[in-house]
Amino acid sequence: MKLPKHRYGRKLNFQDNVYNFFTTITGLTIFNIEFFKQAFLPPYEIPEVKKHMDELGVKTFGIVSVTGFIIGLVLAMQSQPVLTKFGASDFLPGMVALSVVRELGPVMAALIFAGRVSSGIGAELGSMRVTEQIDAMEVTGVNPFKYLVVTRVIATTMILPILTIYMIVIAIFGGYLAILITESINFRYYIDSVILSIEFGDFVPGVAKTFVFGYIVGIVGAYKGYTTEGGTEGVGRASTTAVVLASLLILIFDMILVKITLWLWPTLG
């Protein structure tokens, strides 16, 4: 796999930035193709995938809990006065649930995951690259792309949907507490309202797109780390650009996937 090289090391002009933009697109495309070529070939490195899933899950569990809770709480607090004004406060549990399940949960979980994990993978692989650890792996006859990249990308793809479902549950609970502050509401009634307002077409596309987001987080972090150049400065650059690029791609793919979802389930619109 030969990847095009970015221009670094001097003050970049407009042409350099355009060149780097297309280099990233080309490099990322080649990297994706290599991933699919190698992901289905043995050895499958299942213990490594499990190890990364465990690490990544633990790493993001806390921040996903806090963010999910706050999103649910704030969403309910902001919406409650408006809905009450129009005499539609009964719809509040359903509104919180629908917003969180269809859009806020998947996208927020993915963006937090990108911030925490994409940068982590970029920095880890980047430092392995500049300290010749990836070369050391290669000379011992181990395929570093398979061992380092494929395992991490599979792990991020598998773990993000689980984190998203967890975040949705926490956010719905946060919404309940927000309502409870201002009015008395039975928890059973709240949960029944939530369940009644969510349909298959709300839940499945919302969670399904997080597989794509998880893949983006993994592949972008791994690409930036694996192709790091320029010593410790390069590691910092890899880590930062991984977050920016992953977040941007998550939002772009969200737009595309929402359009596809509405095309497949027109009633959702």
């Binding site: 430092s127 392995m128 300290t131 010749e132 650890q133 070369d135 050391a136 792996m137 290669e138 000379v139 011992t140 006859g141 181990v142 395929n143």
Partner: protein
């Protein structure tokens, strides 16, 4: 053991190796000298297939590295050890895991006990058995080099490539590491190619030395021949090295 024919390698406009031919016999220790940026490490990386040459052939044990696919290349690499300048120990693994890694990957039939015994034996060879459960961040520069050396020889390679094995070490540790390399080479009858600036290291290890200059092998001979040469460039180079030593 190694036969290099008309090897050339450039990076953009910069010609690093220009039509180099070289032969290293089995059991020989060849030292590669040269100023910084003269292509010494590039030569090693071409030999192990980390860099692809622009032209030429590299035969290791009769197999042309340049013409092999990745699977075949990995088979050849199992018989080659490579000690990196920075030792390149895996940060996230202990010393034990670092040494066990190439064994587990290349010899899947070995039991955990066999791997553990081999790791302990190899660490004894480099006198670091007490550091077996330490992390690389807890080791000194010299210890890292020793662990890197142990990891390189754990698969019993026939050929060892050393990229600046003593850079950054004090003269006493340099001598210790150089003697260790020589002892291991004699014990296991390995062929070695050593890239270095270090005259102490070269004097202890080398059977023969080459000097890379302007992308070519400019001088060749024993260490004594090179250090006592009347060529002004060599005189200048080695006088600086002696002052440093």
């Amino acid at each position: 053991m190694i036969e290099i024919e008309n090897l050339s390698k450039s990076f953009g406009q910069l010609v690093v190796l220009d039509n180099i031919s070289l032969y290293v016999s089995e059991g020989e220790n060849l030292v590669v000298f040269g100023r910084s940026g003269q292509g010494k490490s590039v030569l090693l990386k071409c030999i192990i297939g980390l860099l692809s040459p622009d032209n030429g052939n590299i035969l290791v044990d009769g197999k042309n590295i340049v013409a092999l696919n990745l699977k075949e290349l990995n088979e050849v690499r199992k018989n080659i050890g490579f000690l990196f300048q920075s030792a390149a120990l895996y940060d996230s693994m202990t010393v034990r895991e670092n040494l066990a890694f190439p064994l587990k990957r290349n010899f899947p039939n070995l039991t955990d006990k066999e791997i553990n015994d081999k790791v302990e034996y190899t660490l004894e060879l480099v006198s670091l058995e007490y550091a077996i459960d330490k992390m690389p961040s807890e080791l000194s520069g010299g210890m890292k080099k020793r662990v890197g050396l142990a990891r390189s020889i754990i698969t019993d390679p026939k050929l060892m490539l050393y990229d600046e094995p003593t850079t950054g070490l004090d003269p006493i540790t340099t001598k210790e590491i150089s003697e260790l390399i020589l002892n291991l080479q004699k014990k296991f009858n390995m062929t070695s190619v050593i890239v270095t600036h270090d005259l102490i290291c070269a004097e202890i290890i080398a059977d023969r030395a080459i000097f890379l200059k302007d992308a070519k092998i400019a001088y060749e001979g024993t260490i004594e021949e090179l250090t006592k040469s009347n060529v002004p460039f060599l005189k200048n180079f080695f006088s600086h090295e002696l002052i440093k030593a």
